[in-house]
Symmetry: C2
């Protein structure tokens, strides 16, 4: 058993409260130097570390954040496609470390509705949900009465979102500035909130540039790869010259399919992604992509949670700005 404050007090021959006072207060509190020294030395000798559980119970402060993540993230095979969540977790962990907050990743089966029990078993006093959970789940979270904010494409009462529309628009603007006109959007289906927003941004930007197209014509869902292949096989004058992919991982697919079709990236076709995750610099050519600012989002998320935890009811947070990082997968449109 670890040493308790009582052991320390006994060893220093003072009362528990005295020991507690000295051990818990800042070093420049007023106290008899000799008493302080005795206590500190005893604590040192006994290897005393305060019991955070007891502190939490007594003070009512937990200061730990539960982070809900898809269960499959921990799966070797399936986890591959869920790199995004690992990066989210890392970003949240980093932000929490900067604030001396604890985090607790909680892996849950996405298909299952969370119950209050799932929460109460955890030692957290606020929550981050990173994926689109069911309304029932959110109801349970509300009922649990824990501050809870959705990260990215999660739905819910409070959310922190990137400017997906703006990011998509910036991508299209850039492509248009390079002379591209036949631009496709390669997307995930069915999509999350972020997915829809990027799609809207794409369509709006195309419209703005007078490149109006029907969504059906310009948006290829990832379950229709054959259609993408077919488009890539069209003669140069009809073939798309650029593809804006929903996410980096999808951009990789696009590059693969383009390569298989005998097209060179970026000479024959430009590809642009979204996220700027680890993959973005691993592909060849390196990926031009919209930065999904996970770090900034994590910071905003924790700030929002802190406010909620203090009992404030902050307004809907502003969108986190996205920026375009230009690398090597984009080039001027072929003549």
């Amino acid at each position: 058993m670890a040493a308790t404050i009582r052991d320390v007090a006994k060893a220093a021959s003072v009362s528990k409260s005295t020991a507690a006072y000295i051990l818990s207060s800042s070093p420049n509190f007023q106290t008899l130097p000799e008493t302080r020294k005795k206590v500190l030395e005893a604590a040192q000798a006994l290897g005393y570390r305060r019991n955070a559980i007891a502190v939490a119970l007594s003070s009512g402060q937990i200061n730990a954040i539960g982070v809900f993540l898809p269960l499959q993230m921990g799966d070797h095979e399936k986890g591959r496609s869920l790199l995004y969540f690992k990066e989210v977790l890392a970003a949240v962990a980093g932000a929490a470390a900067r604030r001396n907050l604890r985090i607790m990743p909680i892996l849950v089966d996405q298909s299952r509705t969370l119950t209050g029990q799932d929460l109460s078993d955890q030692w957290v006093d606020r929550l981050i949900v990173t994926f689109p959970a069911s309304p029932e789940t959110f109801a349970a979270l509300e009922a649990a009465n824990l501050p809870c904010v959705g990260f990215g494409s999660a739905s819910g009462r409070h959310t922190v979102e990137a400017d997906n529309r703006g990011g998509a628009a910036a991508a299209i603007d850039y492509l248009v500035s390079l002379g591209h006109q036949r631009i496709l959007h390669y997307s995930h289906d069915p999509g999350s909130t972020a997915n829809h927003q990027r799609r809207e941004g794409f369509l709006a930007a195309m419209d703005r540039h007078g490149l109006t197209v029907s969504a059906k014509q310009a948006i290829i869902p990832d379950n229709r790869r054959d259609e993408l292949r077919r488009r890539f096989g069209l003669p140069p004058g009809e073939r798309p010259t650029a593809v804006f992919a929903y996410a980096d991982a999808y951009a990789v697919q696009v590059m693969d399919i383009a390569h298989d079709a005998g097209l060179r990236v970026p000479q024959d076709i430009s590809v642009i992604g979204f996220d700027d995750g680890a993959v973005a610099v691993l592909t060849r050519p390196k990926l031009t992509t919209v930065v999904n600012p996970l770090e900034t989002m994590a910071d905003a998320c924790l700030d929002l949670l802190a406010a909620l935890h203090r009992g404030e009811e902050p307004p809907a947070g502003p969108l986190i700005p996205t920026t375009l990082t230009i690398r090597d997968s984009t080039a001027p449109a072929p003549p």
Copy 2:
């Protein structure tokens, strides 16, 4: 404030103990059905959820694992190169979820010696260290008297390691079976334990196949990329025909450099990695690589920690077997 067991007891007009007894025991415990019903209904009505903190304090059971990770993992730019740790964290999180254990990622500055304070004051009752920490750090951890095991290339009293030597040997065996003879090892310098083990496996396997080479000749550290470029520029008869990279991320570098040198992978040169992380299926061609079985390692790690926590002193765990996954970055040696 959430409802406590006392509120439930009062509402059901029984004593706290009775309520606790009914609420905490399995449903088929013997108790008067009507009392049970009263209590359960009251609990339901009040939205009672037991306080996990109080449970922990009272029972003395924490069942939470601290996972030490490099601080930079949460950094957008630097985090890119630390994908490995994100995958480790995900694997540990998955394994913990299967066992109903809580985990707490703790991001620490690698260069700093850890103190008892970093243990988040007893929020956890066992530890995983995922990177090579300093001896002083391990001493502090020992002093904290918490079961602690190193994951992968971490050093320490207890560790769970993959069969790095065997994996490296399997890679070389496979290359040799494809007719390769001039094989390089592209490695990280200075290296971790895993690094050294893979290097040893490489050298031993080369020896075994009668391809004895000096380490200086056959091992290129990643801070000497120019040397790798030079080798790739040699005439076909002297040029290496295969490279075994220390890790997938390094295999990507090798492929890039090979590509820049005008070599085709795998026709002109075969590349083989280590880890089988998410990147392995994102590269083009897809990477042949040794599987670093993070999931299995995480399981072993938690088992070992559980044993230590029970007070057992288990023998050094066996190496976790590695396997080779053959994809598209390897081919028979050019004639």
